[in-house]
Symmetry: C2
């Protein structure tokens, strides 16, 4: 369902800066071959990953998050006093209590700032969800500047007997600082920065396809007295085939709906209704945003197969696609902001005004996407 | 810091329905006295709780959440097809992965609806935070109707050797359905329904005052091989005295700032600038919203001492206060929506147009509050 016409309008939002952080230890797939007693090249061939960064036991998600967020604030030319809301958008918890954002706030030493802090989560789509919510809060005047940071240590939950998953995930953190674009439309190259469309759909018939059963109230140490059995319940489990099948079936329609919204917003702007009511119901439906108008597609780095399939299915050219999978693996919720940061800080970075498509899937199963005018 | 004057305006939001759910098992403090070998009356005298509802091992947070959310949808006179966003606002996870809202979505059997789902968390302030974010999304036209549901099973993490905490917490779930009020200001008694002010501050120097160290990547079964030591890390720990001291010091100033915002919004409406720019900078600061204008104060049911202290410190009359602590205990994130539901469904319920103050604290430590015109 496409929203009513009166809502089809760009929502101003400026990505003022981004940053990322990695654990110190890089693990190559060649090392993993040796560790698992496999012929050289096996892990890379099977998983498509050459190297990942894996946290040591003493490294915490909050530390990595704080490092990435600090870098994003610096990249935005700001100080923490300028940031009035901090959102942790992780897929997993650092501790059961308190929430991730409070731990990051403490790690950053921000207690004197009294920053409002929240967690926003949707597994691997957490960053995208948080950006969408942050944009609405900035538009409502609740906050002027929001830091969104994602950090996940997938490595703690990997089953090293399951090559399909253990060879694929990496740890990391990445952040973005979000503000209003300059109010005067003529005041600079980023005055038109906006979310053109955002969309999330949950298909919970796939709720079991990706899961870690424990780590919450459902399977608690107090309920599962056998330590070995409990440890098993803390491992990541993926049903790769049905998951891929569901996503392959659903992604084209989802993307079509997202690009139709973006197309309608752009058509409304062209007709001079930008900032007013958007498109009018009586007119013919505008064309979806064509893929060739998108400067860069930044997918969640879910898997080699997933990224390749999306690119082929949507007709994305190689130069249009951000593909960091080989060097970082699937970094869970940190994956998309890391890909965004690397895209925006590359030599061939998109320019202000360029259109970006962020697109991903998450355990849930959910599909999410956002069309951003950078 | 009070937001710039141009943002001081009411944000339309209608609470269309609420619902709650409890585990089947009610545990009285008298039973707990017997179980712990204490003289009759000890637990109630120490904790202020007469009875709580505690989940059996087979009951899940998602089941309770689904029950509460179903009841809220029915109370709103809606069906799930009318709800386009479902937010789980728990303090704790049901599983590590996927996220709570996806599990609730699956439990409700909503996969055909493709509802967008998200988690929003801030420990015990999760519900309030989710309402604030939901209002901004509804205002932005992203969603028309948002279900917010909180469910926590605190009982799994209780240390039965620690009377201070084990006698105080209860399990439960509660939900609210949020929509736009009718667009025409003259169209009904709830046409002025709105958030008048909302505020959150994190004071993370108290980050260790309330915590469960494990349940995330920081202390994982893979890192803590000793099962007994690991089980200990999964228990709730509270430093009651410094926590109370911090809250007692900070709450008055926080409430003052919140009521100042609400007062400014109401003053702006009186001067006829409602819906426009709000108050003007050149005018004298309007008076804070006086406590006597608040029909009902709904605090987080943190502890006997906490509720009593807030009521006394702010000068809240007995009839103004929702105090359900004796019958439910502290239900963590489910506490505030349960109190809201019981307030709105009581015989002496507030009427549309009445002003409610929701106020609470959370592990983090964070303080949050919202002034709502019901």
């Amino acid at each position: 369902m496409i929203p009513p016409a009166q809502w089809l309008q760009a929502r101003p939002l400026r990505i003022a800066g981004t940053g990322m952080a990695l654990p110190r230890t890089c693990v190559t797939s060649a090392e993993l071959d040796a560790r698992l007693g496999l012929p050289p090249g096996t892990v890379q061939a099977r998983c498509g990953v050459a190297r990942r960064y894996l946290a040591q036991p003493h490294e915490t998600a909050a530390e990595l998050a704080a490092l990435a967020a600090d870098r994003a604030v610096a990249a935005a030319g700001m100080r923490w006093a300028d940031v009035d809301c901090l959102i942790a958008a992780n897929a997993t918890m650092d501790q059961a209590l308190p929430y991730n954002a409070a731990l990051v706030h403490a790690q950053l030493g921000l207690h004197a700032h009294r920053t409002a802090t929240f967690d926003i989560g949707a597994s691997c789509l957490s960053f995208l969800a948080a950006v969408d919510f942050a944009a609405a809060m900035i538009a409502a005047g609740r906050y002027t500047t929001v830091a969104v940071v994602s950090a996940d240590l997938a490595s703690v939950g990997l089953d090293w007997r399951d090559l399909e998953t253990c060879g694929m995930f990496g740890d990391g953190a990445a952040a973005a600082i979000l503000t209003r674009p300059p109010a005067d439309a003529g005041s600079g190259p980023d005055s038109s920065s906006a979310i053109l469309a955002a969309r999330f759909e949950t298909l919970s018939d796939g709720v079991d396809y990706c899961q870690i059963p424990a780590g919450g109230s459902r399977h608690h140490p107090g309920k599962v007295p056998d330590a070995v059995a409990f440890a098993e319940l803390n491992l990541f489990r993926m049903q790769g085939k049905p998951l891929f099948r569901l996503m392959a079936t659903e992604m084209p329609g989802f993307t079509q709906r997202l690009l139709a919204e973006a197309g309608a917003v752009l058509a409304g702007e062209t007709r001079g209704t930008y900032g007013n009511l958007g498109v009018h119901g009586e007119q013919a439906a505008p064309a979806p945003l064509p893929i060739h108008r998108i400067a860069r597609v930044i997918p969640h780095q879910a898997s080699r197969l997933g990224i390749t399939h999306i690119a082929r299915r949507l007709g994305i050219a190689t130069g249009q696609l951000t593909d960091i999978f080989e060097d970082y693996g699937n970094q869970v919720a940190a994956s998309m902001p890391t890909a965004l940061h690397l895209t925006l800080s590359a030599e061939t970075a998109p320019q202000r005004g360029d259109i970006l498509l962020l697109l991903g899937t998450s355990a849930g199963v959910s599909i999410g996407g956002m069309v951003v005018r950078y």
